[in-house]
Amino acid sequence: MVVNFLMVSLFVFLLLGFSLVLSYFESRPEATAFLKDGVSQAIINNTISELKGYSGVREVKFVSKEDALKIYQQENKDDPLLLEMVTAEILPASIELSADNPLILQDVAQKMKDRKDIFDDVIFQKDVLDSLAKWTNLVRNIGLSIIVFLTIVSAFVISMIIGMKITLRKGEIETLRLLGASNFYIQWPFLMEGMFYGIFGAILGWGVSFGAVAYFRPKITSFFGDIPFWPTTITPFLILLVLELTAGLLIGLLASGVAVKRYFRR
């Protein structure tokens, strides 16, 4: 049960992170168009004006070769090997474009791609988004399959354990029956035990995964930089805890209920 909820928590945290990254990119549709070497500044300025004229285009920014070198040096300042032999001449100038929504950006990006005399390549964020969405779906599907499998196994294990405990105490149960105990009086402790296993598994699984998240958070945050990968408040994690506790309780109750019904039907 603990492993089950550990996997649930980890996958939910992962999916939460991916969703946040997806939302981040979706809210900042961007494209980068790399300029061919030799394009004159006049043509570049005309192109920028033309792009700014499109409806829905939020910002158009020219990044010169020198600017590109500064950005490259900043990003790789901890790796001197990557800085060797790299000059401004090697790096292309580019125009960075941001729009209000991905559809507008798609149109504009296509127009830029058609200007093969000016632009060498256009990287459209949609490719990144598609890749990210694909990975998110994959993680979701794999996660769901694993979780369903583990839930069935956990419920089966709880049912077996409760069943064994009932069998071990069958003498006691018979005595209680002869003393006038109702079925509910006899069954309730076993149902409670099943619920306890579920709740305990949920708390421990959530706790371990939350601990792991807290431990790795600084590393992952520094990897993603400005892109948010974690929620800024603890609320989503607490909501997940409540949901897992409820699920644990229900799975434990159901599993022990099956064991109890099987025994008392005999």
């Binding site: 003393l179 105990a181 009086y185």
Partner: protein
């Protein structure tokens, strides 16, 4: 609580345990059910407790009706009847993990009697069977006679209308067995019906109580002040 058997028969497969047994026991009676081993004594007690149903005829225990055939008694009737019946088993059937006090308190827990009412009742019945000093002992720490007295205390805790005792002296030495039966007699004088299955002829012959003799599943004698060999 009156008990009545009307032409009750009981078969276990091909074996006939009871054959058209009819008798009545009124509230407050003390009845011995005697007979050799396998005669059907325990089967009669099992039917009274609702542990098994008649194959023929009908048994009425207070408001619980145990019919034969496909018609089943209502579960609630059986539960309510059992709560008015105290049982002393030959093999004690105490819970090993529970102390004397906890074992005696089980029927009270079933009836949701809690707090001081529960404590007072337990103390009262343990005093009656002279085991108050051993209330924190576990069954493994007690002798056979003491275990049987714990069973009696458990049976008395709910202030039953009927006490069923199935060979209660079977595992006891004669002196302890006598003490137990004297205790049952004292309880009977307070108005509780006592039905005791036994093949201890000394006790039966000395007590001068009603004796129902069962042989091969049939009642062969039913005497008001009977002897073991009627």
């Amino acid at each position: 609580m009156n008990i009545e058997f009307k032409e009750v028969g009981k078969k276990f497969g091909e074996l006939s345990a009871l054959d058209r047994v009819s008798f009545q026991v009124k509230q407050g009676e003390f009845v011995f059910i005697t007979g050799p081993c396998g005669a059907g004594k325990t089967t009669i007690l099992k039917i009274i407790l609702g542990r098994t149903r008649p194959s023929e005829g009908e048994a009425i225990v207070g408001e619980m009706i145990l019919p034969s055939g496909k018609k089943k008694p209502r579960a609630k009737e059986i539960i309510m009847a059992r709560r008015k019946i105290g049982v002393i088993f030959q093999d004690f059937q105490l819970i090993e993990d529970c102390t004397v006090e906890e074992n005696v308190g089980i029927p009270l827990d079933i009836l949701h009697i809690k707090g001081s009412a529960r404590s007072e009742r337990i103390e009262k019945v343990l005093k009656k069977v002279a085991l108050l000093s051993k209330k924190d002992f576990f069954p493994a720490q007690l002798s056979g006679g003491e275990l049987q007295r714990v069973c009696l205390a458990r049976a008395l805790a709910v202030e039953p209308e009927v006490i069923l005792a199935d060979e209660p002296t079977g595992n006891l030495d004669p002196e302890t067995g006598w003490k137990l039966v004297e205790l049952l007699d004292k309880i009977n004088k307070g108005g509780t019906t006592v039905i005791m299955a036994t093949h201890n002829f000394d006790i039966v012959n000395s007590m001068q109580k009603r004796v129902i003799k069962v042989v091969d599943g049939k009642i062969v004698a039913d005497k008001k002040k009977g002897k073991y060999d009627n």
